[in-house]
Amino acid sequence: MAAQASFIGQKNKKEQVYTDPWHMMNEAPRTPSFFTGSEVIKEAVRRASCDIMVAYPITPQSEAAALCGELFAEGYIGDYFRGESEFAVMSQCAGAAFGGARVFTTTAGPGTMRAMENFPMWAGARLPIQMIVTCRGINSPLSIQPDTLEISYLMQTGMLVWHAETAQDFYDWILKGYMVSEEPDVHLPLALCCDGFFVTHTKDMVDLTPVDMCLPPYDPYRSPVPCMDMECPPVRMMRDPFVMKSNYISYATHASWQQEVWAAVERSRKHTIRWMDGLIDTENTDADVIVVASGTAVSQSREAIAMLEEEGIHVGLVKVKTLRPWPGEEIREATKHAKHIIVPEFNVIGWLAREVSATISNNERIHAGPHVCGGMTMPPEIIAAEIKTVLGVKAPSLAGRGG
């Protein structure tokens, strides 16, 4: 059985060497390459030993999904096909994962929402599927522009949810993501989110691992639940299906399993910290003002912080990398000296500010905003203006910036 074999050092049919993932990600030489975010997804998947990828067109992930098709044609993925809708695609991913495959898919915005019924099922069934979410507007009227509202729904599903800032994050986290979510004590799906277009359609320098190294294949027999391939004894799973019982045992079973799924999210913490060097990154946390942000809002905040630095205003930064598991303790620690906490976001409701508010004491320190949505960009000036307003420093009118 695969469980007893080590693949490290062997070659796959594309002559890639199954490599110790820690060596591959942290020690092997890197090659700087100038790629779009979509191309970076392709390059990560090329090295991920995926068995199945299911694709569906929706802007802005269509290019990445199609590029993975090219990988299949070249022989890097076991099987690949276009599903008929995101709901179907996520079920097809589930079927493949139930059957013991390492599964990859991508979606965005309305597609995420259409498929939503699948996600708590994935988590409950302990399927370590990786789904790239290139966030876009989900509102009416129709929008294809960047907007991170969909992440707030994903955060309640029992999936791991990470929010990448850059294409480099994306590249590393796709590969590291499998290592975390396939741990036997985790074994949960991962929604790896980014802000659509900003990351997918812009070019960036990304340091790639060697193309002749790839992750060892997934071993489904390390799963905490049986793989549905008739390779282990099938026994009657229960005397009475819980769905038809209204009694204490039935409730207790459902309750304990939901608790176990969330406990598995918590158990992912130690693996995630090891692979990602912490759930947050921090800069200058001794400052009076600290920006807490995730995704592209982090990049914009860095610009704003540099602008303010020139004016003698010192501002710290917390980059939130994982939303599930939620880095509550880390954020509490990083913001404990802050008098003001600014939370800029690419969505209208401010879900990150709500999460932070529920996490720290003295949460009147939190200033939720600025918020942009529906595809608007977030110029560093509006973050700087927000900070100045909070500090009572006069800011010039943004309308007067000129064209």
Partner: protein, 302 residues
């Protein structure tokens, strides 16, 4: 999975559940000749079910599980409904995930098993009710057929939503008064067998489950054709005696009444040309096997 895999270490045999001991000693895994006649003689792959007394679906379930040609390498996919109350008792791996997505699950599953076990047959069989197959899941039912996914879809057609209490479904007859069809259903029973044929299924049968030998034959045909050629579809009438006002003992008669030549479950079959060739080949092999067995038997007695 070979039958070896389910064997119990001798030292631990006595502490295993009695159902499992039974499974090892008397189940028909690996027996190429298994069929409905094993019911009552060999360990069945379904334990006591939790359906209504006399429910034809429970009969259908037993016939199907007795007839699977390769249960030791078969994974079943179910959907929400009365069938999902039975699957937890079934001794082949089976997946319940959501309502209506069974053919999407099966598509991913079959492809994963093909990637992982390229040199072996791993059969996938979907078994779902008519609401799951024809209403909420129709899109995924048809798309799996369009894509020529190599698995069998079985629809237990009881012409309504039984598990939720008897609401109108697409396979309900026109005029039938039900919940959510308070003045009678206003449109015809959806003609899914014809749609299945046009959608690319290679073997389609529409019948009742009144005759176990017939069910054995169509199940074996459907699984073999799906394994070698492409999608297959069986629509089996399993009346919900509760919702049509019948008693426990009346299910069989209801099916017999509905399979008369002029009725909606008169036996209908479609077999594509490649499927015909395959089935003829299999029939020839079976004939050869029987002749050989007869010869050996004659040799022994001589």
């Amino acid at each position: 999975m070979s039958k070896e895999r389910i064997k119990i270490a001798e030292e631990l045999f006595d502490i295993m559940p009695v159902e499992y001991q039974d499974l090892v000693k008397r189940a028909t895994y690996g027996n190429g000749q298994r069929g409905w006649k094993d019911i009552g003689n060999a360990k069945e792959l379904i334990e006591e079910h939790s359906l209504c007394a006399g429910c034809p679906e429970s009969m259908a379930f037993r016939y199907i599980l007795a007839s699977l040609p390769n249960p030791e390498d078969t994974v079943m996919v179910g959907s929400t409904g009365c069938t999902s109350l039975v699957f937890p008792h079934v001794a082949v791996h089976n997946i319940h995930s959501l309502f209506g997505n069974q053919n999407a699950i099966a598509s991913g599953l079959k492809r994963a098993l093909t990637v992982r076990f390229p040199d072996r047959h791993k059969d996938v069989v979907v078994l779902a009710g008519d609401g799951a197959t024809v209403d909420i899941g129709l899109d995924m039912t048809l798309q799996a057929w369009f894509r020529q996914e190599k698995f069998t879809t079985i629809c237990f057609d009881n012409e309504l939503y039984a598990n939720t209490g008897g609401q109108e479904s697409g396979l309900m007859q026109k005029g039938f008064v039900a919940k959510m069809a308070p003045v009678g259903k206003t449109f015809e029973k959806v003609r899914l067998p014809e749609i299945a044929r046009e959608s690319g299924c290679h073997y389609v049968v529409n019948c009742t489950v009144s005759k176990p030998n017939l069910i054995e034959k169509v199940i074996k045909n459907a699984v073999h054709v799906a394994r070698e050629i492409g999608p297959t579809y069986l629509q089996l009438y399993t009346p919900c005696i509760l919702e049509i006002g019948k008693n426990s003992m009346e299910g069989l008669q209801e099916m017999r009444d509905s399979e008369k030549p002029t009725e909606r479950f008169a036996y209908k079959e479609y077999v594509s040309e490649p499927a015909k060739e395959l089935l003829a080949e299999l029939a020839a092999k079976e004939k050869e096997r029987k002749a050989e067995a007869k010869k050996q038997l004659a040799g022994q007695s001589a």
